[in-house]
């Protein structure tokens, strides 16, 4: 609750900061401070200190899982701010508003990750989505951005419709929106199943799982790269948390009904994400597809739905977000977004190239990085849930993913070229290295995150 309120307030403050401060630097500093405050508040709550006592009537419940995820999300956002917030200046003039929207999204994430009522789920998802529609379209003179924004909006609204229908049907079958108060009326079980399916589809849409992923590449590609970075990582992870919670709380009773469906969706997601990524020439678009394939892996958590899955999802969220944010942060600095644009980067910027390698290895799931362990958790959870074939399929697809991630490494290290990277500050380097360090650290000691769940 702390973080939710703080972030919402921060959003409001940022909204007005544009009138107060004229310098972007001041706005940026303010945003950093506010985010730090949010994190502090979050930590305090995790330690059991709540600043605000709000009775949510059982609609929100901030358990360790949610808080921990919020913490991860906030930390990743902080990293994102440090690495890329300067680049938001290049998107458009409404600098402070961007921050405001980002803070609102964080608030939405807080809601989506701690909902206990379908209403809250709906509101949370919408609070996340609406600012995203806007952020996607912020590069107003760029037709690609416009187009992406409209596509995102239309499809998003469509999926909202599906979600609402699903909620309505679930409500019809159970008589309540509060997850703990649901009583399944056996007469209406078929309603519940249809509702579940609709919710499944719409959530699959939000986390860009196939075959509801079509918006993802276009939107990620069209959106200003800074915001792609944010929306493809933290927001997506939040979607998964919500997804997991929803199915854990509401539909765990009818698991046989959806287990195969989820497995199927997972498999197609993995397949489409990886296979299509192979052919991409633009790193940005490749990352978009890679995010689909990573989503496939996270879907395994939904499939497995056990404690490993939850731990793993947290780890996954952290690992995936850090790595992707890092890569995007460098991508933003590049002139040329194609693979060839990275040729020879290792010569020019050895340190940055090395950190990128760490991130890519993490995404590919190579041991000693957080990416491996998070994938490992997912596989473990899946096998525990009996999906050994699915696990095998997943690792095969992971092997495919190595192909496109390593293409970038090849470009940087083994090809000659003269890439143009602009505006790389010491601070930027330092943060990247720190993130790489975190990636490796988590790869060695995942308990750093997961033990919070149990202490």
């Amino acid at each position: 609750m702390n973080a939710l309120i703080f972030s919402a307030l921060s959003g409001v403050i940022m909204m007005y900061s544009g009138f107060v401060f004229k310098s972007n630097k001041a706005i940026r500093t303010l945003a950093h401070i506010l985010l730090a405050l949010v994190i502090v508040a979050n930590l305090m709550e995790l330690k059991g200190i709540a600043i605000f006592e709000v009775d949510t009537k059982g609609m929100l419940y901030f358990d360790k899982f949610a808080l921990l995820f919020m913490l991860i999300a906030n930390f990743c956002t902080l990293a994102f701010f440090i690495l890329s917030s300067k680049d938001m200046e290049r998107v458009g003039r409404s600098y402070s508003e961007y921050f405001a929207l980002l803070f609102f999204i964080i608030a939405g994430i807080a809601i989506a990750s701690s909902f206990k009522s379908l209403l809250m789920l709906f509101l949370g998802i919408e609070i996340i989505s609406i600012p995203l529609y806007i952020l996607t379209g912020t590069d107003k003179l760029n037709l690609k951005s416009n187009e992406a924004s409209l596509k995102y909006f239309l499809l998003g609204a469509f999926s909202t419709g599906l979600m609402l229908m699903g909620i309505a049907l679930v409500y019809g079958a159970t008589g309540s929106f509060i997850t703990s108060e649901m009583v399944v009326n056996p007469q209406f079980e078929v309603l519940l199943v249809i509702g579940m399916m609709l919710l499944l589809f719409s959530m699959a849409f939000k986390v860009s799982a196939a075959p509801f992923h079509f918006w993802t590449p276009d939107v990620y590609d069209g959106a200003p790269t800074v915001f792609t970075s944010f929306m493809s990582t933290i927001v997506k992870a939040a979607g998964f948390i919500a997804f997991l919670r929803l199915f854990d709380d509401v539909f765990s009773g009818i698991r046989p009904e959806w287990k195969i469906l989820v497995a199927f969706i997972t498999a197609i997601t993995l397949f489409i994400g990886n296979i299509t990524a192979v052919f991409q020439q633009s790193v940005k678009r490749m990352l978009a597809y890679s995010s689909i394939s990573q989503a496939g892996f996270m879907m395994l958590a939904v499939y497995a739905l056990n404690s490993d899955a939850k731990e793993g999802l947290l780890l996954y969220a952290a690992a995936y977000s850090i790595a992707t944010i890092g890569i995007f942060a460098v991508l933003i600095k590049m002139k040329d977004y194609t693979f060839d644009g990275f040729n020879g980067l290792a010569r020019q910027q050895p340190l940055i190239a090395a950190t990128l390698v760490v991130f890519l290895l993490s995404l590919a799931g190579i041991p000693l990085t957080a990416g491996f362990l998070s994938k490992f958790y997912m596989l473990k959870a899946t096998i525990n849930a009996g999906g050994i074939l699915l696990a095998i399929f997943a690792v095969l697809m992971a092997a495919v993913s190595v192909y496109y991630y390593f293409r970038l490494i090849q470009s940087m290290y083994f090809k000659e070229g003269n890439p143009i990277a602009i505006d790389i500050s010491t601070e930027f380097r330092f943060t990247l290295v720190a993130l790489a360090g975190v990636t490796i650290l988590l790869g060695l000691f995942p308990n750093l995150i997961t033990h919070w769940l149990y202490f």
């Binding site: 709000v54 009537k57 458009g92 609102f104 809601i111 609070i127 609406i130 379209g137 209406f188």
Partner: protein
């Protein structure tokens, strides 16, 4: 078959008809008008279902504010005339067929429960007084949270509309209209 039931069937038929007209009208303006008509019939449904408050809000917010906004934008863009190029016939057909099949499947899955849904009851929970009470006790948190939503929508409209002067002027009233709508709802509740 009571009067309310007859009414229900008539309304239902009207609703569906107007909805079909929405999607089949060649002229977008007519579509909007048909949509408004649909909203009216839905409001009538609400009344049948004893949800008077919703019926009113529906008319005010949807038919009043939102649809006017739509119309406004349409007029602004000068899209009143048939401007839609021919869409691939096959694609259209495929869309219709796919949607139709989806309907069929869903209805088939739901056929056991279909009967239940038409039963109508009376009651007074739909009254503003009762709803307001619940809204500000149990549902106060989502209510506040929805303000975040509005704030972000507002900021968004501002962000998107900022640069070009003429459009900015256009968008701002839209936001204002929303604000007004919210305010009006709040006022009514209280």
């Amino acid at each position: 078959m009571g009067i309310s039931e007859i009414l229900f069937w008539i309304l239902a038929a009207l609703t569906l008809f107007s909805a079909v007209m929405v999607i089949s009208s060649k002229n977008p303006v007519f579509s909007v008008l048909w949509l408004i008509f649909t909203f009216f019939t839905i409001s009538a449904h609400y009344i049948l279902l004893n949800a008077q408050f919703l019926a009113i809000v529906n008319i005010i917010v949807y038919a009043g504010a939102i649809m006017v906004l739509f119309l406004f934008v349409l007029m602004l863009m000068n899209l009143g005339k048939e401007s839609e190029p021919k869409k691939n016939r096959w694609l259209k057909l495929a869309g219709a067929v796919a949607g139709g099949s989806l309907l069929l499947v869903m209805v088939a899955a739901l056929r056991h429960t279909e009967n239940q849904m038409t039963e109508l009851v009376t009651g007074d929970i739909g009254l503003i007084k009762n709803l307001g009470k619940v809204l500000f006790t149990e549902f106060v948190v989502p209510f506040e949270i929805s303000s975040i939503l509005f704030l972000s929508a507002m900021v968004g409209a501002v962000v998107l509309g900022k640069r070009d002067k003429p459009v900015e002027n256009l968008i701002t009233p839209a936001v204002a209209a929303d604000e007004v709508a919210v305010v009006s709802i709040e006022n009514r509740d209280v």
